[in-house]
């Protein structure tokens, strides 16, 4: 026997039968779902990163306090990257009696490398802009209001006069969205000519580059060791740091969808493989009888599986890639700019996972065929040796776990899903056993077909449990995709309430608090939050000079060497969550300190550690009493370190405030004039950015969820078809014995509806629990309540589909002549 030739022939012949075709279809579907979802997820991620480039104005920015040596631009050019020089400096603009401090950006063409720069002309019409022509500059609305000018007006900057050529409508932020002063954009040559860049000016030089991803990475690697002192590289990841939460949540959503699609497909492949193995049993017995060795049989089986896997995975890949392309085309506004290039890793991974799923889930039943007794040829009921525990069955569990681990890319997501699905499996088994006993008792009291159907469920205990388990897992995955996912997205959107603070105010003196609060109240500002701010230095930790847990940490370095901002509050401020310990007491005997988790990690701090800080003339040694988690995307004033109020009150301090004010413009310009020491920071641009990202991500995720859902429904139907064999012969026999179509229908409906309801009830509970845990642990959304009614509705609907699918399958059998089925059987 030549295994390869035999396997190829076997495959060709057996493809005519339903089992192999189902196995192939399940595999095609699995790979298609995975490839489509993972590729789409990757392209959306890529597009989101590209939108970070819009934020930065390029793919990478180098910053330094002196002009960068020319070899930097030369290297960028050598690597085929476009580059652009930009100088930023604060300066005051004058117009008549008015003056305004502005954040000036002097640029040279081409500007910007990435993103959109547009200005409004004198008629308020917005159009795309480039570097302003010589003698002209573009300014933010706040500058024009403060100077009492419109477009076309004249201002003095440095020693030259300029014409306001337009009002800035949108411009990249160069990675720093928190601007203290409004923006002015001017021509670099003009800035030099006006003497604004001379010695002593506080300029920040930037070189922005853009181009091929690998070239950008190569440039970053080249530039890093050559940067002058105080120089800094800002990557796309850095640029989106303020929006990190939004990106991470979006990514987690996409991964969740991809992962569930993969698990669903695994269930379908496993069921189809079981069915295929059953059909193969007779053939293997015959081959053994005819003298084939176990090794040869095993080789032929493995080869047949491989010959099936290759084209099925390829077909799935083609289908999946086609589908994700279709989604991208249909959802035109989904991604900004041109669709990102097709990534090679996700399709390749989908292919590999397809092969792993097939071998992982199909090998155990096939490998057992090795042990089929040749005697089976003579007596069909000579079963394979039954083992109580077979180590082979750990293989699909292992592949499933590997899928979760690889697909999640996030330990919490992996753990939550893994534990969730394992829990559902165990609950189904335990609850199922109990319910089957109950069903047996109930069935005994019923009559006719209903009794027959329910009794069947209890009689086929192993099969019923297997089906209930597969259904419960599939329905849970469907409920998570169909209901929990969208409701989490909705909750996320609700996380950006309309009264979210859009202005920040710093440097407010204690005596100005009351008048400013009154003024804000007058203006109709809402959601006003005010916290004291003291600036100090970190002196020691536990009596020793502060030492970073990781030496190469920029944020840590600035914490050790730079200023530290402290605050205090009687109660835990909003957007803060205590992780460990207690909030500093009002008047403790010794100073107490609450530390943000990330900052604590920099120095390996834990409750009980002592932190020494110097503020002005004073030194405080505070004991860490709690660790906190802070939602930095809340747009409230937040601090790494918070003292107890009694210790804080004695320190020199100012106040920071956040508030929401719609259509602030001119009113705030007046406020700024009346409180000249106070700086106002406009958060509207950042907020718009976050809303934009959340909008895009939710739209993309909705598509991906929708696709996974569709895959899930198809897989569910495939899973049901995989158990149709048992029923086919049975239904034919019952027909022979005189069962009516109505009796078969009622029996099957009762059986499947009971199965669907049990699995559905478990799925509702499972999906609701998973949703709550995902919301808290993975998506960090507080106060999420899973929508139980829609969950129950979708699961009831799915149970109905399950019952109908079973019923329709039986109808087909009931129409066929029983003799034909029995003879084929």
């Amino acid at each position: 026997m030549r295994p390869l030739v035999f396997a190829a022939r076997s495959l060709r012949r057996e493809f005519r039968h339903a089992e192999l075709a189902t196995l192939a279809a399940a595999l095609v579907l699995a790979v298609a779902a995975l490839a489509a979802v993972a590729t789409l997820a990757s392209r959306v991620e890529h597009a989101l990163l590209a939108s970070a480039a819009e934020l930065l104005g390029g793919d990478l920015a180098l910053g330094a306090s002196q002009p960068l040596p020319p070899e930097f631009a030369a290297e960028a050019q050598r690597l085929g990257l476009a580059s652009h020089r930009l100088v930023e400096f604060p300066s005051v603009l004058f117009a008549g009696e008015h003056s305004k401090l502005a954040d000036v950006r002097a640029t040279a063409a081409p500007f910007p490398l990435r993103g959109r720069f547009s200005v409004r002309d004198a008629h308020g019409v917005e159009h795309a802009a480039q570097t302003p022509p010589s003698g002209t500059l573009y300014a933010d609305h706040a500058v024009l209001v403060a100077l009492g000018l419109g477009v076309g007006g004249s201002v003095q900057l440095g020693d030259r006069a300029f014409v306001i050529g337009g009002e800035i409508a949108s411009a990249p932020d160069n990675g720093d969205p928190f601007r203290i002063a409004p923006r002015v954009v001017m021509n670099l040559a003009d800035a030099e000519a006006a003497g604004l860049l001379g010695p002593g000016s506080r300029t920040r030089q930037r070189l922005l580059v853009a181009g091929d991803e690998r070239a950008v990475a190569a440039f970053a690697a080249w530039a890093k060791p050559r940067l002058p002192a105080g120089g800094r590289i800002t990557t796309l990841a850095d640029a989106q740091q303020n929006l990190q939460g939004a990106f991470e949540r979006g990514e987690s959503f996409l991964r969740l969808a991809a992962l569930l699609a993969a698990l669903l497909s695994g269930v379908a492949v496993a069921l189809a493989a079981q069915r295929f193995a059953r059909r193969k049993t007779d053939e293997v017995a015959l081959l053994r009888c005819l003298g084939a060795g176990r090794g040869e049989i095993l080789a032929a089986l493995l080869l047949e599986l491989a010959l099936l896997a290759l084209p099925a995975c390829l077909a799935g890949l083609a289908l999946g890639l086609g589908l994700q392309e279709l989604v991208l085309r249909l959802a035109g506004g989904l991604l900004p700019g041109a669709p990102p290039p097709l990534p090679w890793a996700p399709p390749l991974a989908a292919f590999a996972v397809g092969v792993a799923v097939l071998f992982g889930f199909a090998l155990p039943p096939l490998l057992r065929l090795r042990d089929v007794a040749p005697l089976r040829v003579f007596r069909r009921d000579t079963g394979t040796r039954v083992r109580r525990f077979d180590v082979l069955y750990l293989l699909p569990v292992g592949v499933g776990a590997l899928l979760v681990a690889l697909g999640a890319g996030n330990a919490r997501l992996a753990l939550t899903l893994g534990a969730g699905f394992a829990g559902i499996g165990v609950v189904t088994f335990v609850l199922g056993l109990g319910l089957l006993r109950l069903v047996r008792v109930i069935a005994a009291r019923l009559h006719g077909a209903l009794r027959f159907g329910l009794a069947n469920l209890a009689r086929r205990r192993a099969l019923s449990l297997l089906q209930a388990g597969a259904l419960a897992l599939s329905l849970t995955a469907l409920a998570v995709l169909g209901v929990v996912g969208p409701s989490l997205l909705e909750r996320w959107r609700a996380d950006l309430p309309p009264d979210r603070p859009n202005w920040f105010l710093i440097n407010l003196q204690p005596e100005q608090r009351a008048p400013l609060q009154a003024r804000l109240h007058e203006l109709g500002a809402g959601n006003v939050k005010m916290l004291p701010l003291a600036v100090g230095k970190l002196v020691a930790i536990n009596g020793q000079a502060p030492k970073l847990a990781e030496a190469d940490d920029r944020r840590g370095e600035s914490a050790v060497n730079g200023e530290i901002r402290l605050s205090w509050s009687e109660a835990l401020p909003p957007a803060n969550r205590l992780l460990e310990g207690h909030w500093p007491a009002l008047q403790p005997a010794q100073p107490e300190l609450s530390v943000e988790r990330g900052w604590a990690r920099l120095f390996g701090l834990k409750p009980g550690d002592r932190v020494s800080l110097s503020v002005g003339e004073r030194e405080i040694v505070a004991t860490v009493t709690s660790l906190r988690e802070v939602d930095w995307t809340s747009f409230h004033p937040n601090f790494f370190l918070m003292l107890d109020p009694a210790s804080g009150a004695g320190l020199p301090h100012s106040y920071v405030a956040s508030f929401h004010l719609a259509a602030a413009g001119d009113a705030l310009a007046a406020l700024s004039r009346d409180f000249p020491n106070v700086s106002l920071i406009d958060l509207n641009a950042v907020l718009d950015r976050v809303r934009d990202i959340v909008g895009r991500v939710t739209q993309a995720v909705t598509w991906v969820l929708g696709f996974s859902l569709l895959a899930g429904v198809l897989v569910l139907l495939a899973a049901l078809a995989a158990t149709a064999d048992e029923r086919r012969i049975e239904a034919a026999l019952l027909r022979t014995l005189g069962a009516l179509r109505r009796q078969l229908s009622v029996a099957v409906l009762a059986e499947f509806a009971a199965l669907g309801l049990v699995a559905g009830a478990i799925a509702v509970a499972g999906a609701a629990t998973l949703g709550s845990v995902l919301a808290r642990q993975v998506f960090r959304l507080d106060g999420y309540a899973p929508p139980l009614l829609p969950l129950a509705a979708i699961v009831l609907g799915a149970a109905l589909v399950v019952a109908l699918a079973g019923w329709i399958g039986t109808l087909r059998i009931a129409r066929a002549a029983p003799l034909a089925v029995l003879r084929r059987g």
Partner: protein, 229 residues
């Protein structure tokens, strides 16, 4: 066949033609027969002569391409599959060569099937009695894979007789059994047949079994070759 008593089964000019890969194939050609109540008929013939197809048609498990069949006074051609099922449930019992027991059901549950389908409340009790009659009362909770071939066929016999059918169709009932076990099953089949005064139609290769029937009918390539006394 017997003209003296009531005829329970007749087939008139029955043919069965199917579409095969090489065109149309005539499996049965112009078969006419009649069986009287309480009588027994053996259908014999070489493999592929159409025996099992004829049995299936007579039992109403399939429809003839032409001709008509009357079972217990009901013309099967006029009945749809649903009505034929109703008729089978009341009047017909079956024994198959490969037993056709449901593997997930115990011996007792397999025997209960026809009674449960008929909505009988005393199904378990009657199944127990039927199993006792075939000598398997101690194996009632065993599953088919725990029973020998002979035992499985005895369970099938218990199932066939449990609802006291008027007519029993048996397709090679000893075909899967050794000679001795087959003989035992044959004895049991004829004993039950006598006890219940059932009409018996059986298809067999087993000459001894065929010889125990009152009548024999030989099929050759789908046509009746002749019939015994």
């Amino acid at each position: 066949m017997s003209e003296r008593t009531e005829t329970v089964l007749t087939a008139t000019q029955v043919s069965k033609i199917v579409d095969g890969p090489d065109g149309r194939l005539t499996i049965l050609d112009d078969v006419t027969l009649a069986v009287a109540r309480g009588d027994s008929l053996a259908i014999v013939g070489a493999s592929g002569s159409g025996k099992t197809t004829l049995l299936g048609l007579l039992a109403g498990l399939d429809r003839p391409s032409s001709g008509s069949i009357t079972l217990a006074g009901a013309c099967l051609d006029a009945l749809d599959e649903e009505a034929r099922a109703r008729l089978r449930r009341r009047l017909v019992g079956f024994v198959f060569q490969s037993f056709h027991l449901l593997p997930a059901l115990s011996a007792e549950e397999n025997v209960m099937l026809p009674l449960e389908l008929d909505g009988r409340a005393d199904a378990r009790e009657r199944a127990g009695e039927a199993l006792a009659r075939v000598g398997l009362e101690r194996r009632r909770h065993h599953y088919p894979h725990q029973l020998s071939g002979g035992e499985q066929q005895r369970v099938a016999l218990a199932r066939a007789f449990v609802h006291a059918p008027q007519i029993l169709f048996a397709d090679e009932p000893t075909g899967n059994l050794d000679q001795r076990t087959g003989a035992g099953i044959g004895d049991l089949l004829f004993a039950l047949n006598r006890e219940h005064a059932t009409t018996l139609v059986l298809v067999t290769h087993d000459g001894a079994l065929a010889a125990r029937c009152a009548h024999r009918l030989t099929l050759r390539a789908g046509r009746i070759d002749g019939s015994g006394a």
